[in-house]
Symmetry: C2
Subunit: 218 residues, 2 copies
């Protein structure tokens, strides 16, 4: 094995250690989206939309949806303008920036907005990241909202984490106002919670014996 | 500390582990330089030069020399054509590919060609990589050639490694045909070898006492 060319460890083309990989990420990051831009993005719901300059090559490399849109001489390719609906300027800015840098520091709202865009434009790396952020920040207060949101966007990882959290507090379930709302609006999701709870019980020996089982305790 | 969003370890925006960093490198790699190209590079010494399509934004992001050339509306920017002399098509292709992927698997000749281009266009990440490749592949057979080459391109890391190797075999020095050639062509480099040898001796206690010191033994 030759020595690593970047860190003087074992050489495998710069992928051998965190230091080499970080240097590679820094090298590959595109820092100046405004230079030689050939396409403009707008959050089309804004009254006075602010243009976000970008490059067709970068968009097409990161997203198969943008690639199809731009390669096929659709309106967007010919006009050099892509209008994106149902998104704020800030979220679109963060989305475009992610395509150049693979960096974002989201809060819950931004993670939800970016997950929706990542799904729509098939940017799997960003969708994974948003899913993991939302899972890491799940709590009893946001669990119902995030659970419902995850179902709308087929985010399996979040659904599983939210079900695990909710089924640990079944005694408190019916007291939540979201429970009544969801029963009304989307009863399928409530059934899924009950089914997940009893499936977990069935897979945990000696849990269904006592009717006052400890899962219902504080 | 939040959990890592990409590997479910600790969360620090995807830089926490090799797996996250590799995913980031894969995401940031540009795989299709031909898409929406706005500039063409040629190895101008070739009789029938083959065009290498690229993007001004990528060249400008990776190299301050390309940036200055393209931003300042010089001939290259206006014509969308960059002619590069003293380089083969294969080396230029590998150079451009590196700007998109940060990947190359060089042999000695290619590493030398790329180091020259990396120096000319100030692509430090590639210059470092070529220097480390050449250091890792130094041996008694190529040491004089690489030592001379390193001096032409101010590659300090290679010079130090070559001097360390050569000064370990001082008894064989004058038998090398490159020694006579270098004495004639560039005596300064021969002085440097002798000076490096005696400086090493001075820093190694009890080495200069005997005239038949063990450094000169096989």
């Amino acid at each position: 094995m030759k020595r690593c060319m970047s860190c003087e460890g074992r050489y495998d083309c710069g992928n051998c250690c965190k230091q080499c990989l970080k240097a590679k990420v820094a090298f590959l990051t595109m820092s100046q989206p405004a230079f030689f831009s050939d396409v403009i993005l707008f959050a089309s719901d804004d009254e006075n939309p602010i243009p976000i300059p970008a490059h067709k090559a970068v968009l097409a490399n990161r997203s198969p949806v943008f690639r199809a849109m731009l390669e096929n001489e659709m309106e967007e390719s010919l006009s050099g303008t892509i209008k994106i609906g149902d998104v704020s300027y800030d979220a679109l800015r963060a989305f475009v920036n992610y395509l150049y840098t693979a960096e974002v520091c989201p809060d819950q709202q931004l993670a939800c907005d970016l997950l929706v865009m990542a799904e729509k434009y098939q940017v799997q790396h960003l969708k994974d990241l948003c899913e993991k952020f939302l899972v890491a920040n799940l709590n009893w207060d946001n669990a119902f909202m995030i659970y419902t949101f995850a179902h709308q966007h087929d985010a399996k990882q979040i659904i599983d984490a939210a079900l695990a959290l909710i089924t640990n507090k079944m005694d408190k379930l019916s007291a939540r106002k979201e429970y009544e709302e969801l029963k009304e609006r989307n009863p399928r999701l409530i059934f899924e919670i009950y089914e997940a709870y009893f499936s977990k019980q069935a897979n945990t020996p000696n849990k269904l014996i006592s009717p006052s089982c400890s899962d219902f305790e504080e």
